[in-house]
């Protein structure tokens, strides 16, 4: 039903990509799950929508990996929420994975836009 409609303005995220986006988002400071989802959506101009069914498993997975850590804090609206924060290992992971991501997207982009890459040769 709503699926076809949703398909147009939303891109399903590959697992590794979501992890990368979460880490990237947290680079600007600690954030709770809802905030992360909002940040990714607005940061991508509403193109990337994060499913909660993927977000929370991703957060818990990253925490188990030791790339992020969590603590309970209170928001400005006095709402108790679980804040996630990058760890040193997480920063390292973000650096190496981000680099890889850039190489892969550049490669994909060069395949998708053959004239431009041809010019570069």
């Amino acid at each position: 039903m709503a699926k076809g409609e949703a398909y147009q303005n939303r891109i399903e995220l590959v697992q590794g990509t979501l992890d990368l986006l979460v880490l990237q988002t947290l680079l600007w400071g600690a954030q709770h799950g809802y905030g992360i989802a909002q940040a990714i959506r607005s940061g991508s101009g509403d193109v990337l929508q994060v499913e909660t069914g993927s977000l929370y498993p991703a957060l818990h997975r990253l925490e188990k990996q030791g790339w992020i850590k969590s603590e309970w804090r209170t928001t400005e609206n006095k709402q108790r929420a679980k804040y996630y924060q990058l760890t040193a290992a997480g920063k390292k992971q973000l650096a190496s994975e981000g680099e890889r991501w850039r190489r892969v997207t550049a490669a994909i982009a060069s395949l998708m836009e053959p004239r431009e890459s041809g010019g570069a040769l």
């Binding site: 709770h32 799950g33 069914g53 929370y56 498993p57 929420a81």
Partner: protein, 861 residues
């Protein structure tokens, strides 16, 4: 169902999601939505909360444990819902595992358990011989070996010994051991109190001292330190207790508890008549050796081979015939792993215990088949439940795992109860092999090996009975007429047949042994073993006995049949050369021995009081001897040249008797010679025998009083000849009893299986039976039809079992007596019993079938 340990984490996750929803709703309100619609919108956008929780929890990594917990809870609930099924299944497993564990723990105690000593793996049992090494060595050989310090760290000689402990008139026989001086040092033991025996204690003239076991310390001295230095009287001699052996160590003789241990060299003090044991001719000690560091067993035997001829000169007796000396000198030492100690029981019980392990293994298989049958029947009943679960999206693997968890639960419950059962059963078993004269004691507390065995058995059981039903159950559609169930029941029947035949064979063997004519009358004869040398036995002891009320005949002899000890020497008709080896079983008998034992005299006369030291040496031969050496001639009046206890003798034959058994009921009678007890001068053992009338217990009491009055320094114990005969059948009795018990159990399990199958099949075919009845089938016909099904299953089982009988026969052949392993009467009897039991088990469901009301049956669907 959530994994309980994750309670905090679960709550946190819930709160995390609640916060998410609250923030989302808050944002929506800020954008102008009403609170209700904001909340609903946040919920909608979030999606399935439970699903998000579920997938998030999987990230924690302990999901499988949580699922297992779920399965366990589910399984336990299922078991509670079907208590009858659960009880039968758990009981089947418990009996199967209990039986196996009991036999295994006995096997373990006897064969596998290491002595509680330092580094038991590096101990070797020393044997000496040419082809068939003897495990018994003389005291001199053990001492000579202990001196070879370039080969041995130490050599521990030991032998079981019964010590008469206590003051005159109140003497109690206490089990113990005689050991050589290096015994404790070699085994590497530390005393629990005081000191242990040392080489100095085993020198001639050393003061008599004793080391007691921890158990004896507790029982007799309440662990008081005052026990050290105390004197106890042993054989009338004061002996000082110098120490207590470490807890758990009860001697190197497995199965025999040594409460008191003394040095062998003190033997002449505490039992002068046994002093000859220290001489060269008596082999009675077992020896455990610990090799010097860096020497392997093969190096040790090689070195022993080079030094032995030089040593041998000192340990053989110059009075022996040349051949015998040569034989000992030429013999070679053999070292066998000895970390498990030594016991004569191993030889006797190895094969029976292996057979029993096989038997209990089959019982366990039957139990498995039984539980599998039950589970399959239940799986059919749960078909609907499983179909629903599959329909709402349960993975097939998950359902297999679920069903399998239930099997594992049953196995675990059965196994736990089984361990308790095993403990009781092994005590019963021990009681079967233990007798008053030769008590057998084992520490049967379950050890790691036994528990590992039980766990493995339980897991294998779960796999065996759980796998088929699990796979079968998870296939959504169960075939109406599965072949698995009838096959399982037939397998049970076949295995039961095997056990029934085995039980029949062992019972038959026991019966045959009981029916062996021993050549004497075993009933109503009482025996008293005398301590003290032949010369110190009061001459009028037999007269004293004859005056005891109830005694109708009495005598004295050096040996009694089946006592476990025999005496053999060479003897041939005068004029022939003496053979190198002993060729006759001897017995020194007083006048009246033949009458007391009721051994029939075939020709000539019995010994009389005139056959004493001064007169012509006389002998009575048995039929076997007469036939072998005199053929058809009459031996009475002929002479024998013999070597009687190392002295050349000329014996005049005065009579011929019937054969009697000597060393065992299975052993055919051997040529035998009776010599006159009162013409023997040596230190020889003596036993009084009395044939009594009336109550055996009263007579025994009266005899004890009379003999004790004559021999205040001895422990007088009266026992019955019939018990002595019985004791030789202990092994057979144990096998027969256990095989019967286990086969009865197997039969019961098979019948339960058959009953279950038929009951289930009747329930399933209610409609079919109803139609038959509606069409005019009679009740009798329906019963007949159902019983016919049962008979077909049983016959199929018997056909399955018979080839097994043929295979198993090789295993039990050597344990049988007087019948072949394929004895047709036994096989037919077992099969008949099986058919009868099966019919009885099948009758109830068959009658149930006949009571099906056609109307109700047809309305049912």
């Amino acid at each position: 169902m959530k994994w309980p340990l994750w309670g905090r984490r679960n709550r946190e996750l819930e709160e995390e999601i609640r916060a998410h929803l609250a923030m989302a709703a808050h944002d929506r309100i800020e954008r102008g939505e009403t609170p209700e619609s904001a909340e609903q919108g946040a919920q909608r956008q979030f999606g399935n909360v439970a699903l998000v929780q579920e997938t998030t929890r999987e990230m924690w990594g302990w999901r499988w444990l949580e699922r297992l917990w779920q399965d366990l809870r589910y399984g336990l609930r299922g078991m509670r819902r079907a208590p009858g099924f659960t009880a039968v299944a758990v009981a089947s497993v418990a009996l199967g595992i209990g039986a196996n564990t009991a036999i295994f723990s006995l096997f373990d105690a006897l064969m596998l358990k290491s002595l509680p000593v330092r580094d038991p793996g590096s101990l070797y049992l020393v044997g000496l011989g040419v082809d068939n090494p003897m495990e018994s060595l003389s005291y001199r050989i053990v001492r000579a070996l202990a001196e070879r310090k370039e080969i041995f760290f130490g050599v521990a000689g030991f032998s079981r010994w019964i010590f008469p402990v206590g003051p005159s008139g109140a003497i109690r026989n206490t089990p113990g051991a005689l050991v050589t001086g290096e015994f404790y040092e070699t085994l590497g033991l530390q005393p629990a109190a005081g000191r242990l025996l040392m080489p100095a204690d085993d020198e001639p003239g050393a003061a008599p001292v004793a080391v007691i076991s921890d158990g004896y310390w507790e029982r007799s001295f309440s662990r008081s330190p005052d026990a050290l230095g105390k004197t106890i009287r042993i054989g009338g001699v004061p002996v000082t207790i110098v120490g207590v052996a470490p807890r758990g160590f009860t001697g190197a003789n497995v199965g025999a508890v040594a409460d008191i241990s003394m040095a062998a060299s003190t033997l002449p003090l505490i039992k002068p008549e046994a002093a000859a044991l220290l001489g060269p001719g008596n082999v009675w000690l077992r020896a455990l050796a610990r090799l010097r560091g860096g020497i392997s067993a093969s190096q040790a035997t090689a070195r022993l081979a080079t030094v032995w001829p030089g040593m041998a000169e000192r340990v053989v007796s110059p009075t022996w015939p040349r051949d015998r000396q040569r034989e000992i000198i030429d013999a070679r030492f053999v070292l066998k792993p000895g970390g498990t100690g030594w016991t004569y029981l191993r030889q006797i019980y190895r094969r029976p215990l292996l057979v029993l392990l096989g038997v209990t293994g089959i019982v366990l298989l039957i139990a498995c088949a039984n539980v599998a049958t039950l589970l399959l029947s239940r799986a059919a009943a749960r078909q609907k439940e499983i179909a629903i679960r599959l329909a709402i999206g349960a993975a097939r693997a998950r359902i297999v795992r679920q069903l399998f968890t239930e099997s594992a639960l049953l196995a675990a419950a059965g196994g736990t109860i089984g361990i308790g059962l095993a403990w009781v059963l092994s005590l019963v078993l021990l009681n079967l092999v233990s007798s008053e004269r030769l008590p057998v004691m084992f520490d049967l507390a379950p050890n790691g090996r036994v528990l590992a065995f039980t766990t493995t058995a339980a897991m294998a059981t779960a796999l065996l009975f759980g796998l088929a039903p699990a796979l079968h159950g998870a296939s959504a559609v169960i075939r109406r007429r599965s072949r698995i169930l009838p096959t399982l029941v037939s397998v049970q029947v076949g295995l039961s047949l095997l056990l029934l035949i085995g039980a029949g064979l062992f019972e038959g063997t026991l019966r045959n042994l009981e029916n062996v004519d021993p050549g004497f009358q075993r009933e109503a004869v009482l025996l008293v073993d005398l301590e003290g040398r032949r010369n110190t036995v009061p001459r009028d002891l037999v007269e004293t006995l004859l005056r005891v009320p109830g005694v109708i005949a009495a005598s004295i002899s050096t040996h009694t049949p089946l006592s476990g000890s025999t005496w053999s020497d060479p003897a041939v008709p005068a004029g022939q050369p003496l053979p190198k080896r002993d060729n006759a079983v001897f017995n020194g008998a007083g006048p009246g021995f033949l009458e007391t034992m009721q051994i029939r005299l075939l020709a000539g006369r019995d010994f009389s009081e005139h056959d004493g030291p001064g007169s012509v040496q006389v002998a009575i031969v048995n039929e076997a001897y007469a036939r072998r050496y005199f053929g058809n001639r009459d031996p009475v009046g002929q002479h024998l040249s013999a070597m009687v206890r190392g002295k050349a003798a000329d014996l005049e034959i005065i009579g011929v008797t019937r054969n009697t058994v000597h060393s065992g009921l299975r052993v055919p009678p051997y040529p035998g010679i009776y010599v006159s007890y009162f013409q023997l001068q040596d230190d020889i053992p003596s036993t009084l025998e009395a044939r009594v009338r009336g109550q055996l217990g009263q007579a025994a009491h009266a005899i004890r009083e009379a003999v004790q009055a004559k021999l205040p320094e001895s422990s007088v114990e009266v026992r019955a000849l019939s018990e002595q005969v019985e004791a030789t059948m202990t092994q057979e009795r144990m096998l027969a009893t256990l095989a019967s018990g286990f086969s009865a159990l197997a039969l019961l399990l098979a019948c339960v299986g058959l009953y279950g199958l038929l009951h289930y099949s009747v329930a399933q075919r209610t409609r079919e039976i109803g139609i038959r009845m509606a069409l005019g089938a009679r009740q009798g016909g329906v019963i007949g039809m159902e019983l016919g099904r049962a008979i077909r299953l049983v016959l199929a089982g018997i056909a399955l079992g018979l080839p097994g009988v043929w295979i198993a026969s090789r295993w039990v052949k050597s344990l049988l007596f007087g019948l072949a392993p394929t004895d047709p009467a036994t096989i037919a009897g077992a099969a008949l019993l099986l058919v009868i039991a099966a019919l009885a088990a099948a009758y109830l469901p068959a009658r149930g079938a006949a009571r099906v009301d056609p109307m109700i049956a047809l309305r049912e669907e």
